[in-house]
């Protein structure tokens, strides 16, 4: 029976290929879109986990809300080291790292490099879940004593020292000399495309005393990064921090917050959800073209039944039952849709691989998307093949022979 169906399709080669085109395009679109969607999802998940898990970032200044006067983040530092210490004492908070930063030209001997300097406490490494893989992080004691030590990112290490070992070497930041004690492992791009490895981490106290020169803002920090114990504790902790800071900053009940709290995980999840929804939408469009392809198959099968009425009559006369005739036309429809699906999967896979070369992330072809495509195609073949096949089977052999 399969051979019979195959020979009928081969006999009308061009028509069979054109009929399959709808299925091919539909399946290729579904595979491609799902591959891109999965790729984006994997990419974002990696980004989120690279930021550290269960992370809240508190910034100075209110978030811009409503039409009133709102300060830009960081313009007037309202957060202090004491705020960070108070937050760190909350029961659901694992660690709170106060952090400031500035761009600076860093020199090591004759070479220099413009980079981003972060100043923080040792909690920073814990909150970021990012520890030096060579050397070590600075300690609580070194921070308190404003020791002249620095941990540098991989990019800074490469730019300043090339092939030499940076550990124990001296670097100068705004005229102050620091000793490199640790190098952070490579982390790649952050969200927004910045190079996270192009950074230097200094103890907060050392930086404030030596580099920034103290003064009024001595105890102020730009942001506080908070690591929360569990994902479930994120929302209550956010609320607790908000109340704590309002109390500490002595804000009147009607006054707006002079800080803002960002849930990085939530932001990433929202982003992932959005891209997931978009790729689902694109997949659905591919799915629609699958249905259109199915209707094309039905159309061609109906034509085929009409054209081959005589053949059906002959087959019935020599003993084919109605069931056998129905099966033959169903198999032809099924074969068309599955062959279209197979070509579509190959085309979609090829396009996904090519797309992966031009996109900033790797496209992921999941076995599930291939299996789903085949299942849907088989379903469409049977669904849209049924009517023409039934029509063929219901022909009267006498009428069919007379045609």
């Amino acid at each position: 029976m399969l051979a019979e169906a195959w020979s009928a399709l081969v006999a009308n080669r061009l028509r069979s290929i054109l009929t399959m085109l709808g299925m091919i395009i539909g399946v290729a679109a579904v595979i491609l879109m799902l591959a891109i969607g999965s790729g984006v999802q994997v990419y974002i998940e990696k980004q989120i986990s690279s930021l550290g898990s269960n992370l809240l970032i508190i910034s100075s200044g209110a978030a811009r809300t409503g039409g009133g006067f709102a300060q830009g983040i960081g313009t007037a530092p309202t957060l202090t080291l004491d705020d960070a210490e108070a937050i760190a004492r909350l029961p659901t908070v694992v660690a709170a790292a106060p952090q400031s930063g500035f761009g600076a030209q860093v020199t090591a001997g004759p070479t220099n490099w413009l980079t981003q300097v972060s100043t923080s406490t040792p909690s920073w490494f814990q909150v970021q879940d990012w520890y030096p893989d060579e050397g070590r992080a600075f300690t609580e004691m070194e921070d308190r004593q404003a020791a002249r030590v620095a941990v540098i990112g991989r990019t800074v290490a490469d730019e300043l020292f090339g092939a030499n070992d940076p550990l124990g070497q001296q670097i100068r930041v705004r005229g102050v000399t620091f000793t490199v004690i640790g190098i952070l492992p490579k982390r790649g791009q952050g969200i927004g495309g910045s190079n996270r490895d192009d950074t230097i981490v200094l103890p907060l106290n050392s930086a404030q005393r030596l580099v920034q020169g103290g003064g009024a803002f001595r105890r102020s920090v730009r942001t506080i990064s908070v690591s929360v114990a569990t994902p479930e504790a994120m929302a209550p902790t956010e609320e607790a921090i908000s109340q704590l800071l309002r109390r500490r900053h002595q804000l009147a009940p009607a006054a707006p917050d002079d800080f803002s709290i960002t849930n990085i995980t939530a932001v990433g999840e929202t982003f992932a959800e959005t891209t997931g929804a978009i790729s689902l939408l694109l997949g659905a469009i591919g799915g629609i073209s699958l249905v259109v392809g199915g209707i094309g198959i039905m159309n061609i099968m109906l034509v085929s039944v009409t054209e081959r009425t005589r053949e059906i009559g002959i087959r019935m006369a020599i003993g084919a039952s109605r069931g056998a005739i129905r099966l033959q036309f169903l198999l032809e429809a099924l074969m068309l849709s599955l062959a279209g699906c197979l070509i579509g999967v190959m085309l979609g896979t090829g396009l996904a691989v090519i797309a992966g070369k031009f996109l900033p992330f790797v496209t992921v072809i999941t076995p599930a998307s291939v299996i789903i495509s085949f299942a849907i195609s088989a379903g469409i073949g049977i669904f849209f093949g049924w009517w023409p096949a039934n029509r063929a089977a219901k022909l009267s052999p006498i009428e069919a022979l007379r045609s």
Binding site: A11, R310, M316, A317, I318, A320, S321, R322, L401
Partner: protein
């Protein structure tokens, strides 16, 4: 008249066939009785519109009668459903048509083997049987030819081979020489005679051609849905005059 001795292949009693049309009911067959024994070679004659095609369709189990009993091989098949009739056609009846009705896409071998597909014979056995039958009808070496590569006479031989595929109890031919020239028509007719004489194949040929009917051993004439003659192919019978048929 029947030639007697052989087992009865088919027996029709009081067959009536009505067709509904806009002008009311049209009675194509009006009480037909006919019986065919194994090994017989007979022709059914009649002008167009006489009801001979309807009779052939009923004998061939392509259609069922409105009234009357049809016994095939001693079994009453009047109440058979479509599936049972399809199986009976496949197992027990071989059709030969005026227009050959071969499938143009298929080789001679595949055409001959087609009925065996529906009776579930394996590919190997199908092909062996098909080649054997093609040899029997004198088409050795044409196994892989398509119908379009064969002459009309050759195509009709392929059709005969196909009809014989399942060793049918009855070979039923509808104007088998109608699309052939006189010479090839005579050859195909000779093939039927040979099959009947040498292999005991029971054959019924439906025709309007007295020349064809003359080659058979028994003629059944039909006119206006009734049998008007049933007997040997005499000159008067072939000309449609003479013996009035008495069903009693």
């Amino acid at each position: 008249m029947t030639s007697g001795g052989g087992k009865r292949v088919l027996e029709l009693n009081g067959i009536v066939k009505d067709y509904a049309s806009e002008a009311g009911t049209f009675r194509a067959l009006d009480g037909v009785d006919v019986a065919v024994d194994q090994g017989e070679f007979l022709s059914i004659m009649g002008p167009s519109g006489s009801g001979k095609s309807t009779l052939m369709n009923i004998i061939g189990c392509l259609d069922s009668a409105t009234e009357g009993a049809y016994r095939f091989d001693g079994v009453d098949i009047s109440a058979y459903d479509e599936k049972a009739l399809a199986k009976l056609r496949n197992d027990s009846i071989g059709f030969v048509f005026q227009q050959f009705n071969l499938l143009p896409r298929l080789s001679s071998r595949a055409n001959v083997a087609l009925p065996l597909v529906y009776s579930g014979v394996s590919l190997k056995d199908r092909n062996a049987r098909a080649d054997e039958l093609l040899a029997l009808v004198g088409l050795e070496g044409k196994e892989l030819s398509r119908p379009s590569q064969l002459s009309g006479g050759q195509q009709q031989r392929v059709a005969v081979a196909r009809a014989l595929a399942n060793n049918p109890r009855l070979l039923l031919a509808d104007e088998p020489t109608g699309a052939l020239d006189t010479k090839t028509g005579a050859e195909v007719l000779a093939l039927f005679r040979d099959l009947n004489a040498a292999r005991g194949v029971t054959a019924v040929i439906v025709t309007h051609d007295p020349g064809v009917a003359a080659a058979t051993n028994r003629v059944v004439r039909i006119q206006d849905g009734r049998i008007t003659y049933d007997g040997p192919p005499t000159e008067q019978a072939l000309a449609g005059v003479g013996h009035a048929y008495d069903p009693a």
